[in-house]
């Protein structure tokens, strides 16, 4: 694409557009730094973790400690969490979006019900354009995949942009590696 020829350009464009969409972008060397961020964001609340996260980073749940709830909770439990941690399968520079692939209903609840959501994304999974979906989503369609771009929002009252309706109010995108 026009302005995303190199890997660095792609990462820079992703960060810019994710920020434009009001995601809060972090860069961390690996998942060990994530637990500190999650605990800080959660305050005294609990932290829901989705199954793609525990599959990719098995140690994260334990490193967060007792405030973390493992995957597979009832929706009502997840709805009480202060923070949800989910895995991004792709980052898309064209739109600043993070693709979530979530087979289980309980995992989707983790990315939607808590007011704060942390999306973990491997640097190597950031692609220039939406065309990356052709391979990652459409070659073998998963049950349920979502491009998410910033926090939930509405403009239904007088077209005034308001952040945080049914989904998270704050979305943190953590680029790992």
């Amino acid at each position: 694409m026009v302005n995303t020829q190199t890997v660095d350009d792609t990462i820079a464009a992703f960060k810019q557009r994710a920020s434009d969409a009001r995601s809060i972008v972090h860069e961390m060397s690996d998942w060990h730094e994530v637990s500190a961020l999650a605990l800080e964001l959660a305050g005294s609340g609990t932290i829901a973790v989705s199954s793609p996260v525990t599959e990719a980073w098995p140690g994260l749940l334990e490193s967060i400690g007792e405030r973390a709830t493992p995957p597979g909770q009832d929706h009502a439990v997840t709805a009480t969490a202060s923070v949800g941690i989910v895995r991004g399968a792709l980052g898309i520079a064209e739109t600043g979006s993070v693709l979530l692939v979530e087979e289980h209903s309980s995992d989707r609840a983790v990315s939607m019900l808590p007011p704060v959501v942390v999306q973990l994304l491997d640097r190597a999974d950031i692609r220039p354009t939406l065309d990356a979906l052709l391979e990652r989503v459409f070659a073998a369609p998963p049950t349920f995949a979502s491009l998410t771009t910033g926090p939930s929002r509405t403009a239904d009252i007088e077209r005034a942009l308001t952040i945080g309706v049914h989904g998270p109010h704050d979305v943190h995108v953590v680029i790992l590696g």
Binding site: R17, T95, F144, L147, G150, V165, H166, G167
Partner: protein, 726 residues
Amino acid sequence: MTASTEPHGPQVDPFPERYAKALADPNIRDGLLDFQRSWRTTRDAQMESLEAITGFTFGDLRERLTTAKDHVIADPAGHVARFRRAAEARGVRVVQVRSADEANAYIAQLCRERGVSLVVKGKSMVSEEIGLNAALAEAGIEAVETDLGEWLLQLDGDHPSHLVMPAIHKRRHQVAALFTRVLGRPFDPDDIPAMVVAARTELRSRFLAAGLGVTGANALIAETGTAMLVTNEGNGRLTSSLPPVHVITTGVEKVLPTAADAITQIRLLARSATAQPITTYTTFISAPAPGHELHVVIIDNGRSVMAAQHGLEDAMRCIRCGACANVCPAYQVVGGHAFGHVYTGPIGLVTTGFHHGLDAADGPQSLCVSCGACATVCPVTIPLPQQILEVRQRVLAQRPDGWRTRLALRAFASRTVVAAAMRVGAIALAPLRRGQFTRLAFGIASRYVSWRTPPALPARPARDQAAEVSPRAITGSPLAGRRIAFFLQCVGDRLAPEIPLAAITLLRAAGAEVNIPSAQHCCGLPAFDAGDRDNARRMARDTIVALEGSDDVVTPAPSCVVAMLKEYRTLFDDDPAWQARAQRLAERVYDLVGYLSGPGRLPAGSLASGASDAVAVHRFCQGSNMLDAGDRLERLIAELTGVEVVPLYEAEVCCGFGGSTSVRAPEISAGILERKLANVGAAGAPILVTDNPGCVLHLRGGADAARAPFRVMHVAEFLAARLPRD
């Protein structure tokens, strides 16, 4: 359009009531004016940056998506079968139903079988179309809307007035009052975030308790059996994920052949709908979650009839972005409850008849001013202005009193009848004549004249005066040797002869040989615009014959040129011989500005004498939207006269004259005119120049009635007044 006999969908008040109610509510036009202006600015900025971001222009992408949609229109059954095979292989239940009733019955039965008493709903226009909420209520099932706009409408017993922004007709103080009433605690109109938090809290418990979720789909991807769902609030993701049963209500028009087409749609949809590069959530659903059920209900409800209509099948491309409403000047005046039915805005005027019966289409379609703005922003190139006129023909044909319109237009089609009537009128109204206007008796406050002073009826039409025009030649006679057949245009000829006479003066001064074929009358546009095809063809044929046998054809009326270039093609699409003659006319006809900007170009500065007051320029809407005229009128004035042209905000937005709208729905004309006059007033120039005679009379009468501080001139008058004098 006859198949949909029984009305379906929610109870909608009769059109005259909706129209009167909308006119009486200033919140609608004030709110929509703000909305249209902010949308236009942000949408244009999005389209501007599109190529730098994606490598594609708006034109590239809309062409691709149009092609993809046309593949489905050519073979709907094949594409649905492909979607069904792929989806069913992954455990999705795909159901095709013929009618709204069947769809509602299927969903109600599913609720009963699964013991569901509470349903949550994401935004779905198809569910509005079929009246799902009412049908579920009848079955004892509560359906709760979860899109904020839809929810507050449900609380208020109201219904959407826009495809994407359902509650855009409500202002913040109305929403605060509603929430205060329903939720039993006070809300501050200026604290929108507090209202949003209240919605989140109220609806969260419903999401967790519901046994079934209903959403629409923005696309069904045939190749992969995937439903695509686009939302900002996240209610679609919750509705489709939390309840154990998810039902998608949709129509065949949502089917796309491939996943690559879906990506094209993503690039266009949010930019066109909400002026975002992408919405917050774009979800691809290909199978039910483990332990859950997924049903896709594909509803016909008139769609297969629509797809079989020559000239209307393109409406099946619609992706429900609502862009057409966002630029529609008539929609701004009354909103979607009047300008539409269940489906609102320009596309609603086309599709309503198929889903809800031709009677439901009758009232709203009469509000279209034919300005053509909708087609310029449509991301799937639906020829909306032509389609609305096509619907108008059908409405006229079935209307019990349609014969009156046809009879009146039959009389108007006759040059001699019109000439006689105008002579009588001019004599009768002569005592009321004051300059350019007819001053009616003080106190007459009709819906037709209170906001626009009618023009004076001239004693002699332009055709009787043309021979007397012999101006002093411009140095060098730049148009010497050109033979022009001049088309006066009926409005100018009979109501504003000064306009065609000024144009003739200019052309003769430049050395052209200007002839006025005596058999000419009206191009047929008024009949075409009224939906009367027979009389339109009659007048078009007479015009073609009258203008044959000269080099160039020039008219001071670009509206007639649009008719000759665009409408004549449709009028004669079943008559190759006349089509060919119409084509030969199309190749050599020019409006005055087009002529002076092209083959009849005069030397720069050749009209530099005269006053140097700055002017504002109103761009004839159809010229901008259908002829790609751009800023050629501004450039022509600047180049020939050196006069300063001040910028006019929304210069290309219709002035409200729009064909027969000022007769059929004068309040719409008046409302659009008000917007235009306010913009011209703000521009601050003492003269407004424009190039279509109908618009000149309309703007002149409106400016007079409003006592506006500027004069309105046709470009021919403005330029002719600057010819060198002795």
